[in-house]
Symmetry: C2
Subunit: 239 residues, 2 copies
Protein backbone atom coordinates (compact mmCIF):
# COMPACT_ATOMS: atom_id res chain seq x y z
CA UNK A 1 0.00 0.00 0.00
CA UNK A 2 1.57 3.25 -1.16
CA UNK A 3 0.27 6.64 -0.10
CA UNK A 4 0.46 9.05 -3.02
CA UNK A 5 -0.90 12.27 -1.52
CA UNK A 6 -2.34 13.62 1.69
CA UNK A 7 -4.58 16.43 2.87
CA UNK A 8 -5.17 17.45 6.49
CA UNK A 9 -8.77 18.62 6.92
CA UNK A 10 -9.97 21.26 9.39
CA UNK A 11 -11.40 18.77 11.86
CA UNK A 12 -8.12 16.87 12.20
CA UNK A 13 -9.07 14.17 9.68
CA UNK A 14 -6.19 13.08 7.43
CA UNK A 15 -7.32 12.23 3.87
CA UNK A 16 -4.80 10.16 1.91
CA UNK A 17 -4.88 8.76 -1.60
CA UNK A 18 -3.25 5.37 -1.94
CA UNK A 19 -2.60 2.66 -4.48
CA UNK A 20 -2.45 -1.04 -3.84
CA UNK A 21 -1.32 -2.88 -6.96
CA UNK A 22 -3.76 -1.68 -9.63
CA UNK A 23 -6.32 -0.51 -7.10
CA UNK A 24 -6.52 3.21 -6.26
CA UNK A 25 -8.14 4.17 -2.97
CA UNK A 26 -8.67 6.85 -0.36
CA UNK A 27 -8.17 6.50 3.39
CA UNK A 28 -9.55 8.94 5.94
CA UNK A 29 -8.24 8.67 9.51
CA UNK A 30 -9.33 10.70 12.54
CA UNK A 31 -6.97 12.51 14.88
CA UNK A 32 -7.88 9.94 17.54
CA UNK A 33 -6.05 6.92 16.08
CA UNK A 34 -6.06 3.93 16.34
CA UNK A 35 -9.66 3.74 15.21
CA UNK A 36 -12.11 1.06 14.02
CA UNK A 37 -12.37 0.80 10.24
CA UNK A 38 -15.33 1.29 7.91
CA UNK A 39 -15.08 0.15 4.29
CA UNK A 40 -17.20 2.52 2.22
CA UNK A 41 -18.22 1.44 -1.28
CA UNK A 42 -20.32 3.47 -3.66
CA UNK A 43 -23.31 1.74 -5.26
CA UNK A 44 -22.55 0.07 -8.58
CA UNK A 45 -19.01 1.31 -8.73
CA UNK A 46 -19.42 5.06 -8.79
CA UNK A 47 -15.99 6.75 -8.45
CA UNK A 48 -14.39 6.96 -5.02
CA UNK A 49 -14.10 10.74 -5.51
CA UNK A 50 -17.86 11.17 -5.88
CA UNK A 51 -18.73 14.19 -3.68
CA UNK A 52 -21.55 12.49 -1.71
CA UNK A 53 -19.28 9.59 -0.79
CA UNK A 54 -16.46 11.96 0.17
CA UNK A 55 -18.78 14.04 2.39
CA UNK A 56 -20.05 10.89 4.10
CA UNK A 57 -16.53 9.54 4.58
CA UNK A 58 -15.18 12.81 5.99
CA UNK A 59 -18.07 13.13 8.46
CA UNK A 60 -17.71 9.50 9.56
CA UNK A 61 -13.95 9.92 10.05
CA UNK A 62 -14.52 13.08 12.09
CA UNK A 63 -16.70 10.91 14.37
CA UNK A 64 -13.71 8.69 15.18
CA UNK A 65 -13.55 6.06 12.44
CA UNK A 66 -10.95 5.20 9.82
CA UNK A 67 -12.82 5.10 6.49
CA UNK A 68 -11.50 3.58 3.27
CA UNK A 69 -12.81 3.40 -0.27
CA UNK A 70 -11.43 2.01 -3.53
CA UNK A 71 -12.36 2.26 -7.17
CA UNK A 72 -13.83 -1.01 -8.45
CA UNK A 73 -12.37 -2.53 -11.65
CA UNK A 74 -13.45 -0.41 -14.63
CA UNK A 75 -14.71 2.39 -12.36
CA UNK A 76 -13.45 5.79 -11.26
CA UNK A 77 -9.78 6.32 -12.11
CA UNK A 78 -9.30 2.80 -13.51
CA UNK A 79 -9.09 1.86 -17.17
CA UNK A 80 -12.42 0.78 -18.62
CA UNK A 81 -13.11 -1.44 -21.60
CA UNK A 82 -15.29 -0.58 -24.57
CA UNK A 83 -17.59 -3.42 -23.42
CA UNK A 84 -17.99 -1.75 -19.98
CA UNK A 85 -18.82 1.57 -21.57
CA UNK A 86 -21.37 -0.07 -23.83
CA UNK A 87 -23.02 -1.94 -20.94
CA UNK A 88 -23.24 1.24 -18.86
CA UNK A 89 -24.78 3.14 -21.75
CA UNK A 90 -27.29 0.33 -22.36
CA UNK A 91 -28.23 0.27 -18.67
CA UNK A 92 -28.72 4.04 -18.50
CA UNK A 93 -30.80 4.04 -21.67
CA UNK A 94 -33.01 1.18 -20.51
CA UNK A 95 -33.55 2.78 -17.09
CA UNK A 96 -34.43 6.14 -18.63
CA UNK A 97 -36.89 4.46 -20.97
CA UNK A 98 -38.42 2.49 -18.09
CA UNK A 99 -37.58 -0.81 -19.81
CA UNK A 100 -36.70 -3.90 -17.73
CA UNK A 101 -33.03 -3.80 -16.83
CA UNK A 102 -32.57 -7.15 -15.09
CA UNK A 103 -30.70 -8.82 -17.90
CA UNK A 104 -28.27 -5.97 -18.56
CA UNK A 105 -27.86 -5.52 -14.83
CA UNK A 106 -27.13 -9.19 -14.29
CA UNK A 107 -24.54 -9.40 -17.05
CA UNK A 108 -22.83 -6.13 -16.12
CA UNK A 109 -23.11 -5.63 -12.35
CA UNK A 110 -22.89 -9.34 -11.46
CA UNK A 111 -19.29 -9.68 -12.75
CA UNK A 112 -18.42 -6.24 -11.34
CA UNK A 113 -19.30 -7.52 -7.85
CA UNK A 114 -17.34 -10.74 -8.42
CA UNK A 115 -14.25 -8.73 -9.37
CA UNK A 116 -14.63 -6.08 -6.67
CA UNK A 117 -14.94 -8.32 -3.62
CA UNK A 118 -11.45 -9.93 -3.71
CA UNK A 119 -9.95 -6.45 -4.12
CA UNK A 120 -11.81 -5.23 -1.06
CA UNK A 121 -10.44 -8.19 0.92
CA UNK A 122 -6.86 -7.49 -0.22
CA UNK A 123 -7.38 -3.84 0.70
CA UNK A 124 -8.70 -4.90 4.11
CA UNK A 125 -5.55 -6.97 4.75
CA UNK A 126 -3.37 -3.99 3.93
CA UNK A 127 -5.42 -1.53 5.98
CA UNK A 128 -5.43 -3.71 9.08
CA UNK A 129 -1.63 -3.78 9.04
CA UNK A 130 -1.52 0.01 9.54
CA UNK A 131 -0.90 1.16 13.14
CA UNK A 132 -3.61 3.84 12.91
CA UNK A 133 -6.34 1.21 12.37
CA UNK A 134 -7.53 -1.14 15.06
CA UNK A 135 -10.69 -2.87 16.18
CA UNK A 136 -13.70 -4.32 14.43
CA UNK A 137 -14.53 -3.56 10.80
CA UNK A 138 -17.74 -2.15 9.39
CA UNK A 139 -19.02 -1.80 5.86
CA UNK A 140 -21.09 0.98 4.30
CA UNK A 141 -22.78 1.47 0.94
CA UNK A 142 -23.03 -0.70 -2.18
CA UNK A 143 -25.48 -3.44 -1.20
CA UNK A 144 -24.37 -6.27 -3.52
CA UNK A 145 -20.67 -6.00 -2.62
CA UNK A 146 -21.62 -5.70 1.03
CA UNK A 147 -23.72 -8.87 0.98
CA UNK A 148 -20.90 -10.85 -0.63
CA UNK A 149 -18.34 -9.43 1.81
CA UNK A 150 -20.58 -10.11 4.82
CA UNK A 151 -20.88 -13.74 3.70
CA UNK A 152 -17.22 -14.47 2.88
CA UNK A 153 -15.32 -12.10 5.18
CA UNK A 154 -15.60 -12.89 8.91
CA UNK A 155 -13.83 -9.66 9.86
CA UNK A 156 -16.88 -7.57 8.84
CA UNK A 157 -18.85 -7.03 12.07
CA UNK A 158 -21.69 -4.72 10.97
CA UNK A 159 -22.91 -3.22 7.71
CA UNK A 160 -24.99 -0.35 6.41
CA UNK A 161 -26.49 -0.99 2.98
CA UNK A 162 -27.99 1.62 0.69
CA UNK A 163 -30.75 1.14 -1.91
CA UNK A 164 -30.84 -2.55 -2.78
CA UNK A 165 -33.69 -2.60 -5.29
CA UNK A 166 -31.46 -3.96 -8.03
CA UNK A 167 -29.04 -6.51 -6.66
CA UNK A 168 -27.58 -9.37 -8.75
CA UNK A 169 -29.37 -12.70 -8.33
CA UNK A 170 -26.34 -14.33 -6.67
CA UNK A 171 -26.40 -11.75 -3.87
CA UNK A 172 -30.19 -11.85 -3.49
CA UNK A 173 -29.81 -15.57 -2.90
CA UNK A 174 -26.97 -15.05 -0.42
CA UNK A 175 -28.94 -12.53 1.64
CA UNK A 176 -30.24 -15.12 4.10
CA UNK A 177 -26.63 -16.11 4.91
CA UNK A 178 -25.93 -12.58 6.15
CA UNK A 179 -26.18 -12.63 9.95
CA UNK A 180 -24.28 -9.53 11.10
CA UNK A 181 -26.16 -6.44 12.36
CA UNK A 182 -27.49 -4.40 9.44
CA UNK A 183 -28.78 -0.91 8.80
CA UNK A 184 -30.69 -0.98 5.50
CA UNK A 185 -31.31 2.47 4.07
CA UNK A 186 -33.89 2.99 1.37
CA UNK A 187 -35.16 5.93 -0.65
CA UNK A 188 -38.91 5.33 -0.87
CA UNK A 189 -39.25 6.76 -4.41
CA UNK A 190 -35.87 5.68 -5.78
CA UNK A 191 -36.29 5.76 -9.55
CA UNK A 192 -33.60 3.11 -10.04
CA UNK A 193 -34.47 0.75 -7.17
CA UNK A 194 -37.91 -0.87 -7.11
CA UNK A 195 -39.29 -0.48 -3.60
CA UNK A 196 -40.86 -3.90 -3.25
CA UNK A 197 -37.62 -5.65 -4.23
CA UNK A 198 -35.71 -3.66 -1.64
CA UNK A 199 -38.30 -4.56 1.04
CA UNK A 200 -38.09 -8.23 0.00
CA UNK A 201 -34.31 -8.10 0.34
CA UNK A 202 -34.59 -6.58 3.83
CA UNK A 203 -36.99 -9.37 4.71
CA UNK A 204 -34.56 -12.02 3.41
CA UNK A 205 -31.50 -11.08 5.49
CA UNK A 206 -30.69 -13.67 8.12
CA UNK A 207 -29.58 -11.07 10.68
CA UNK A 208 -31.47 -10.92 13.96
CA UNK A 209 -30.46 -7.27 14.34
CA UNK A 210 -31.51 -5.49 11.16
CA UNK A 211 -33.09 -2.07 10.90
CA UNK A 212 -34.78 -0.52 7.89
CA UNK A 213 -34.74 3.26 7.42
CA UNK A 214 -36.76 4.77 4.58
CA UNK A 215 -37.34 8.36 3.50
CA UNK A 216 -39.35 9.85 0.64
CA UNK A 217 -37.61 11.03 -2.50
CA UNK A 218 -35.34 9.77 -5.25
CA UNK A 219 -31.99 8.01 -5.23
CA UNK A 220 -29.84 11.01 -4.30
CA UNK A 221 -32.33 12.57 -1.86
CA UNK A 222 -31.26 10.82 1.37
CA UNK A 223 -31.48 13.34 4.23
CA UNK A 224 -28.21 14.14 5.96
CA UNK A 225 -29.47 12.93 9.34
CA UNK A 226 -29.24 9.38 7.97
CA UNK A 227 -25.45 9.80 7.83
CA UNK A 228 -25.56 10.68 11.52
CA UNK A 229 -27.87 7.71 12.23
CA UNK A 230 -25.35 5.53 10.40
CA UNK A 231 -22.54 6.73 12.66
CA UNK A 232 -24.65 5.86 15.71
CA UNK A 233 -25.32 2.40 14.25
CA UNK A 234 -21.56 1.81 13.93
CA UNK A 235 -21.12 3.19 17.43
CA UNK A 236 -23.42 0.43 18.74
CA UNK A 237 -21.54 -2.34 16.95
CA UNK A 238 -17.92 -1.28 16.39
CA UNK A 239 -17.02 0.65 19.55
Amino acid sequence: MQFTSELLLDDGVLERQFSLGETPGTLWTPGSAPAPLILMAHNNGLPKGEPRLVARARHTAACGYAVATIDAPGCGDRPRSAADEQARADLRRAMRAGRPVDEIFESFVGPLVEKAVPEWRTTLDALLSLPEIDGPVGYSGWTAVGIRLAVVEPRIAAAGFFAGGYVPRAQREEARQVTIPLLFLLQWDDEGNPRQRALDLFDAFGSKAKTLHANPGGHVGTPWFEVEDGVRFYGRHLK
Copy 2:
Protein backbone atom coordinates in the same frame (compact mmCIF):
# COMPACT_ATOMS: atom_id res chain seq x y z
CA MET B 1 -55.72 20.50 36.21
CA GLN B 2 -55.04 19.18 39.68
CA PHE B 3 -51.85 17.43 40.64
CA THR B 4 -52.60 14.50 42.96
CA SER B 5 -49.14 13.09 43.65
CA GLU B 6 -45.51 13.63 42.73
CA LEU B 7 -42.29 11.66 42.58
CA LEU B 8 -38.82 13.11 42.00
CA LEU B 9 -36.71 10.66 39.99
CA ASP B 10 -32.93 10.22 40.22
CA ASP B 11 -32.19 12.15 37.04
CA GLY B 12 -34.07 15.25 38.18
CA VAL B 13 -37.28 14.37 36.33
CA LEU B 14 -40.46 15.20 38.25
CA GLU B 15 -43.28 12.68 37.69
CA ARG B 16 -46.72 13.94 38.67
CA GLN B 17 -50.15 12.34 38.49
CA PHE B 18 -52.93 14.76 37.62
CA SER B 19 -56.62 14.83 36.94
CA LEU B 20 -58.45 17.10 34.56
CA GLY B 21 -62.19 16.68 34.92
CA GLU B 22 -62.72 12.95 34.49
CA THR B 23 -59.39 12.44 32.76
CA PRO B 24 -56.47 11.07 34.78
CA GLY B 25 -52.96 11.71 33.46
CA THR B 26 -49.26 11.77 34.20
CA LEU B 27 -46.84 14.62 33.52
CA TRP B 28 -43.07 14.23 33.48
CA THR B 29 -40.99 17.43 33.50
CA PRO B 30 -37.19 17.71 33.29
CA GLY B 31 -35.05 19.73 35.66
CA SER B 32 -34.38 22.12 32.79
CA ALA B 33 -37.80 23.74 32.53
CA PRO B 34 -39.44 25.35 30.58
CA ALA B 35 -39.32 22.55 28.04
CA PRO B 36 -41.10 21.62 24.80
CA LEU B 37 -43.98 19.18 25.27
CA ILE B 38 -44.54 15.69 23.90
CA LEU B 39 -47.98 14.09 24.16
CA MET B 40 -47.44 10.34 24.56
CA ALA B 41 -50.38 8.02 23.90
CA HIS B 42 -50.28 4.27 24.16
CA ASN B 43 -51.64 2.30 21.19
CA ASN B 44 -55.33 1.46 21.43
CA GLY B 45 -55.74 2.90 24.86
CA LEU B 46 -53.41 0.79 26.98
CA PRO B 47 -53.15 2.25 30.50
CA LYS B 48 -50.96 5.30 31.06
CA GLY B 49 -49.13 3.36 33.78
CA GLU B 50 -48.01 0.61 31.35
CA PRO B 51 -44.30 0.04 32.12
CA ARG B 52 -43.04 0.42 28.54
CA LEU B 53 -44.78 3.77 28.18
CA VAL B 54 -43.48 4.93 31.56
CA ALA B 55 -39.88 3.94 30.66
CA ARG B 56 -40.14 5.78 27.34
CA ALA B 57 -41.65 8.86 28.99
CA ARG B 58 -39.02 9.02 31.75
CA HIS B 59 -36.15 8.69 29.28
CA THR B 60 -37.63 11.34 26.99
CA ALA B 61 -38.14 13.72 29.94
CA ALA B 62 -34.54 13.14 31.06
CA CYS B 63 -33.52 14.34 27.56
CA GLY B 64 -35.15 17.72 28.19
CA TYR B 65 -38.83 17.34 27.26
CA ALA B 66 -42.04 17.65 29.20
CA VAL B 67 -44.02 14.48 28.51
CA ALA B 68 -47.71 13.94 29.23
CA THR B 69 -50.05 11.00 28.91
CA ILE B 70 -53.71 10.42 29.78
CA ASP B 71 -56.00 7.41 30.04
CA ALA B 72 -58.47 7.31 27.17
CA PRO B 73 -62.20 6.89 28.00
CA GLY B 74 -62.81 3.33 29.22
CA CYS B 75 -59.06 2.65 29.53
CA GLY B 76 -56.56 2.43 32.40
CA ASP B 77 -57.96 3.87 35.63
CA ARG B 78 -61.25 4.99 34.06
CA PRO B 79 -64.60 3.25 34.44
CA ARG B 80 -65.36 0.85 31.62
CA SER B 81 -68.68 -0.37 30.35
CA ALA B 82 -69.73 -4.00 29.91
CA ALA B 83 -69.90 -3.30 26.18
CA ASP B 84 -66.24 -2.16 26.19
CA GLU B 85 -65.17 -5.29 28.01
CA GLN B 86 -67.10 -7.45 25.57
CA ALA B 87 -65.58 -5.71 22.54
CA ARG B 88 -62.06 -6.05 23.95
CA ALA B 89 -62.61 -9.76 24.64
CA ASP B 90 -63.99 -10.29 21.11
CA LEU B 91 -61.02 -8.48 19.60
CA ARG B 92 -58.48 -10.50 21.58
CA ARG B 93 -60.23 -13.78 20.74
CA ALA B 94 -60.43 -12.97 17.03
CA MET B 95 -56.76 -11.91 16.89
CA ARG B 96 -55.62 -15.04 18.71
CA ALA B 97 -57.64 -17.20 16.34
CA GLY B 98 -56.22 -15.33 13.33
CA ARG B 99 -59.73 -14.30 12.24
CA PRO B 100 -60.31 -10.96 10.45
CA VAL B 101 -60.67 -8.23 13.04
CA ASP B 102 -61.54 -5.24 10.87
CA GLU B 103 -65.16 -5.08 11.81
CA ILE B 104 -64.67 -5.41 15.58
CA PHE B 105 -61.75 -3.03 15.34
CA GLU B 106 -63.79 -0.48 13.44
CA SER B 107 -66.72 -0.56 15.83
CA PHE B 108 -64.57 -0.51 18.99
CA VAL B 109 -61.40 1.49 18.24
CA GLY B 110 -63.05 3.95 15.85
CA PRO B 111 -65.28 5.47 18.59
CA LEU B 112 -62.40 5.24 21.09
CA VAL B 113 -60.34 7.53 18.87
CA GLU B 114 -63.28 9.90 18.39
CA LYS B 115 -63.69 10.19 22.17
CA ALA B 116 -59.97 10.41 22.99
CA VAL B 117 -58.99 13.23 20.65
CA PRO B 118 -61.06 16.05 22.25
CA GLU B 119 -59.70 15.02 25.65
CA TRP B 120 -56.13 15.26 24.36
CA ARG B 121 -56.89 18.76 23.06
CA THR B 122 -58.36 19.85 26.40
CA THR B 123 -55.32 18.37 28.14
CA LEU B 124 -53.05 20.25 25.73
CA ASP B 125 -54.76 23.55 26.60
CA ALA B 126 -54.21 22.89 30.32
CA LEU B 127 -50.59 21.79 29.88
CA LEU B 128 -49.63 24.81 27.81
CA SER B 129 -50.82 27.11 30.59
CA LEU B 130 -48.18 25.67 32.96
CA PRO B 131 -45.01 27.77 33.35
CA GLU B 132 -42.77 24.69 33.08
CA ILE B 133 -43.94 23.97 29.52
CA ASP B 134 -43.01 26.10 26.55
CA GLY B 135 -42.30 25.74 22.87
CA PRO B 136 -43.58 23.51 20.10
CA VAL B 137 -45.57 20.35 20.78
CA GLY B 138 -44.78 16.82 19.60
CA TYR B 139 -46.81 13.64 19.67
CA SER B 140 -45.69 10.06 20.23
CA GLY B 141 -47.36 6.67 20.03
CA TRP B 142 -50.91 5.60 19.17
CA THR B 143 -51.12 6.05 15.41
CA ALA B 144 -54.86 6.61 14.96
CA VAL B 145 -55.13 9.28 17.65
CA GLY B 146 -51.96 10.88 16.32
CA ILE B 147 -53.31 11.11 12.78
CA ARG B 148 -56.52 12.75 13.97
CA LEU B 149 -54.62 15.17 16.23
CA ALA B 150 -52.15 16.05 13.47
CA VAL B 151 -55.08 16.92 11.19
CA VAL B 152 -57.22 18.95 13.62
CA GLU B 153 -54.65 20.41 16.02
CA PRO B 154 -52.28 22.99 14.50
CA ARG B 155 -50.15 23.10 17.65
CA ILE B 156 -48.72 19.61 16.94
CA ALA B 157 -45.43 20.23 15.10
CA ALA B 158 -44.01 16.70 14.69
CA ALA B 159 -45.15 13.17 15.47
CA GLY B 160 -43.76 9.70 16.04
CA PHE B 161 -46.25 6.91 15.28
CA PHE B 162 -45.92 3.29 16.33
CA ALA B 163 -47.31 0.20 14.57
CA GLY B 164 -50.15 1.39 12.34
CA GLY B 165 -51.21 -1.89 10.76
CA TYR B 166 -54.72 -1.63 12.18
CA VAL B 167 -55.97 1.93 12.03
CA PRO B 168 -59.67 2.84 11.75
CA ARG B 169 -60.85 3.65 8.24
CA ALA B 170 -61.48 7.31 9.07
CA GLN B 171 -57.84 7.81 10.05
CA ARG B 172 -56.50 5.82 7.08
CA GLU B 173 -58.43 8.21 4.88
CA GLU B 174 -57.12 11.26 6.76
CA ALA B 175 -53.48 10.17 6.46
CA ARG B 176 -52.85 12.20 3.31
CA GLN B 177 -53.91 15.35 5.17
CA VAL B 178 -51.07 14.87 7.65
CA THR B 179 -48.22 17.16 6.59
CA ILE B 180 -46.05 17.54 9.71
CA PRO B 181 -42.69 15.71 10.01
CA LEU B 182 -43.22 12.06 10.96
CA LEU B 183 -41.22 9.20 12.36
CA PHE B 184 -43.12 5.98 11.63
CA LEU B 185 -41.92 3.04 13.68
CA LEU B 186 -42.84 -0.49 12.71
CA GLN B 187 -42.18 -3.96 14.08
CA TRP B 188 -41.58 -6.07 10.96
CA ASP B 189 -43.25 -9.20 12.39
CA ASP B 190 -45.94 -7.50 14.52
CA GLU B 191 -48.54 -10.20 15.07
CA GLY B 192 -51.30 -7.62 15.51
CA ASN B 193 -50.36 -5.20 12.74
CA PRO B 194 -50.27 -6.44 9.15
CA ARG B 195 -47.01 -5.23 7.61
CA GLN B 196 -48.35 -4.30 4.19
CA ARG B 197 -51.10 -2.15 5.69
CA ALA B 198 -48.55 -0.29 7.79
CA LEU B 199 -46.34 0.29 4.72
CA ASP B 200 -49.38 1.52 2.78
CA LEU B 201 -50.17 3.95 5.58
CA PHE B 202 -46.58 5.26 5.57
CA ASP B 203 -46.91 5.74 1.82
CA ALA B 204 -50.18 7.64 2.21
CA PHE B 205 -49.01 10.35 4.63
CA GLY B 206 -48.86 13.77 3.00
CA SER B 207 -45.73 14.81 4.91
CA LYS B 208 -42.64 15.70 2.88
CA ALA B 209 -40.44 14.76 5.85
CA LYS B 210 -41.43 11.27 6.92
CA THR B 211 -39.08 8.49 7.96
CA LEU B 212 -39.86 4.82 8.37
CA HIS B 213 -37.95 2.72 10.91
CA ALA B 214 -38.54 -1.04 11.00
CA ASN B 215 -37.01 -3.80 13.10
CA PRO B 216 -37.61 -7.54 13.18
CA GLY B 217 -39.74 -9.07 15.90
CA GLY B 218 -43.20 -8.83 17.38
CA HIS B 219 -45.26 -5.97 18.75
CA VAL B 220 -43.41 -5.51 22.04
CA GLY B 221 -39.91 -6.20 20.65
CA THR B 222 -38.90 -2.68 19.62
CA PRO B 223 -35.19 -2.20 20.43
CA TRP B 224 -34.40 0.50 22.96
CA PHE B 225 -32.23 2.47 20.52
CA GLU B 226 -35.48 3.43 18.73
CA VAL B 227 -36.45 5.43 21.82
CA GLU B 228 -33.15 7.29 21.48
CA ASP B 229 -33.73 7.77 17.74
CA GLY B 230 -37.14 9.18 18.63
CA VAL B 231 -35.58 11.73 20.96
CA ARG B 232 -33.23 12.83 18.17
CA PHE B 233 -36.20 13.14 15.80
CA TYR B 234 -37.91 15.50 18.28
CA GLY B 235 -34.59 17.32 18.68
CA ARG B 236 -34.62 18.12 14.96
CA HIS B 237 -38.19 19.44 14.99
CA LEU B 238 -39.03 20.75 18.46
CA LYS B 239 -35.80 22.40 19.64
